[in-house]
Subunit: 240 residues, 4 copies
DNA sequence: GATGAATGAGGATTCATTCAT
DNA sequence: CATGAATGAATCCTCATTCAT
């Protein structure tokens, strides 16, 4: 990064055509790459197309990223910022019932991730994790684990406050997670290609959360089985 | 599984250049293709590698399958769509309660698809559908639609026999489908790379189905919301 | 050629299915190959297709011909039999005027070669001569030279008998030859692909021969130029 | 003709890997392609060889021409069809007798096409038309039809001005065309391989055109047959 | 820094030829 | 003899990457 840019750029009156937004280049490339990787996958995305969508030439792409793989990694890392700090704070301060917390959980995820470009990262990771083990580990640490912990804290709060029955957290977490991951995948893959029944994401999530909440509720129910399975210890005879 | 190879190959001096096994070839190629497609994705799998894993030469692959896409379709047919006839028959003849049918649905799916290499196809399609519209359409017709119809028939049976409350089939189908698709994705992507909480698929599915069944059950409950949403018509105020 | 065949085949009552016409195989292959080479050229003709059209398997083709090139050479050689002996005799015995001889020349060529499959050989040689120099030489000796000599003898007869003006034989021969070669090419190439004006070969040849005969005629004419050029010695100032 | 190469290449130490000569490349590639197509035929010419002869790499060829077929079409456009505009103009402005026009026709064709590498294209199309229907159609539209129309306009001019007898244009066109096509074929096939009588193209064409002109001339002649056949309507009794 | 012309390894597919049966 | 399954060299074309300008 040449010093002159840092000094001159912001204060210059009319930026020359060629100099416009030099610092913005990498960001534009990452945006373009995210879109294309999500749309077409890593292998099928051509570097030149990324460059073109970012409004630069092929050569420029390789000026900022040593290879297509490095570009991919940068895209993922860039889009997995530490949003969890903010979210954790929100949940610590949450005042309502834990049922409402769970509902808010789903709603907030949809509004901030699911319905935005960021859901593409989820799809991308699920699709390409096998081909990028180190990225998968990175994603695991940065996203999956914090996310699971967040959900687990919510569920634990419900149990601690007597709102939920005691449950095996392992399954609880995935029951909350699965609909979100499913939705992110579906939205970016078969959901766009198929002419089948169209899913309305908000409703789908609402149904899922209410069904779950009912399963978590204390008190008498006619289907006792789920309570059995959701109890604290996994059943040995079902384990692999 | 090329049994003959396991038995003969290591002990034989030089493997014959022209080993004629016409009937066995397609199966061996399909097995090899399934493995590689799941491991590396459709685009990243080289035809020659499929051939090599099946123990034949590049040319032989194209002797049996006109192109890589046709090979993929054959893999899907062999492992999934070709079995719907049998499955449909099973469900037509099913004698027990519809709740048991749903449980059987999940169990059978796991045993026949989910726990086998065939689940990789599901992951594959979710990952690559956007790139290969032809394959996506093929999969939509051969797998998604028959699958959704099968699930819908089960749910409808429950409603018709008074076992389930009347529900909006649109969401019902996806609530059944989502855990299976999620499991297939998870197993073949992040699940293999992460050291996080290990999911036991059978239990996960059991929890999901029981939770769902409870949501579908008739009679009084403390959480009425899910009943609201699962009623016949979607709520307008939730629609996008 | 196994002795048994020579001894047994003709005298056997009912020939087994597999033995029918064993000696005919090479001939059938040559016929099939001629057709296909003419239709599609040497490079674009697949060996398997030749075999299929001859009603045998790919392997059998290579049983009789060591390679595709050898097959090609055999096709050309087979179809350039010594028909010139017969034709020379015909012309030696011809009784009419030399003008009629030339007309007969064209007519006979069309009936025996031009309109038959044999014209395909002409096309084939013109198309592939560059790729098969030894075949070209062979064709030159077996066909081109005898043909040119035959034509030259006819023209010489006309000159000797005072029917034609003395001409430069070099051009005379080609003026007779060109329309035939052109027709053979046209018929097997662009003529089959184009929707343009359709040529009726017999009429075309008739026009050509009459035009030529008029150019050869003795006596006064208004266009003396062709007489100039057709005179015994080539004009030095036009020569390359 | 890549002049720069003749001058620079031998004396330079190591040829630069990335020699940027964007404007010159297409021309060099077209020249190389023309040569090779004519030498070896369309199918037998490898793209890489074209590139090598033009002094570039395989990839560069496809930078300028989308496919081998497009390359061929470009060769045809560059060398033949692109010039019809100019030729048509020449003939519209022609001042002399129509006989001179026809003579000029032949002479100009020989100078601009026949004696140049471009004549190889004619041979090429005659040889490969059946294999490449797309190319044949292209050639038919871009070369054959304009060429026939040009010739027909010349002949019609002669008839309209009372210089030629009324003739059946169908045969008239081919009588003009055939010697040129024959010459192109001969030159690039048997003519190069045979040791037979050597044809001097200019003289051959001169003889042909004078013979033709005499056939077209008005006034009394001793051989009336050609007049018969060249009259406006084809004779039914000669038709196939 | 930015460009885009040039490169060449890589991949799908074809087909002449071989050889076990 | 005849077959046709198997082979793998050959070919068109793509695209990540390099580098002269």
């Amino acid at each position: 990064m040449p010093l002159s840019k840092l000094i001159c750029s912001p204060s210059m009156g009319a930026p020359a055509k060629h100099e416009r937004r030099k610092d913005a280049r990498p960001g534009e490339l990452l945006d373009a790459a995210l879109e294309l990787f999500v749309e077409k996958g890593f292998a099928a995305t051509r570097s030149e197309e990324v460059a073109k969508r970012a409004g630069v030439s092929k050569g420029t792409l390789f000026l900022y990223f040593a290879s297509k793989e490095e570009l991919f990694k940068a895209v993922v890392r860039e889009n997995i910022s530490g949003r969890f700090v903010e979210w954790n704070a929100e949940f610590v301060n949450f005042q309502g019932s834990t049922a409402d917390m769970l509902r808010y959980c789903m709603t907030a995820w949809w509004e901030r991730i699911g319905s935005t470009k960021a859901s593409g990262i989820t799809k991308l990771m699920m699709s390409e994790a096998r081909n990028f083990p180190d990225l998968a580990t990175f994603y695991e640490h940065e996203v999956i684990q914090p996310g699971q912990e967040l959900i687990q804290r919510v569920l634990q709060r419900g149990v601690d406050r007597g709102e939920f029955r005691p449950i095996d957290m392992k399954y609880g977490v995935y029951i909350v997670l699965a609909p979100m991951l499913f939705l992110a995948m579906w939205k970016h893959s078969l959901g766009t290609c198929t002419a089948g029944v169209q899913l309305i994401p908000e409703e789908y999530l609402a149904v899922q959360v209410e069904t779950l909440l009912y399963g978590l509720s204390v008190g008498p129910r006619s289907h006792p089985a789920s309570a059995e399975i959701l109890r604290q210890e996994p059943m040995d005879d079902l384990a692999q």
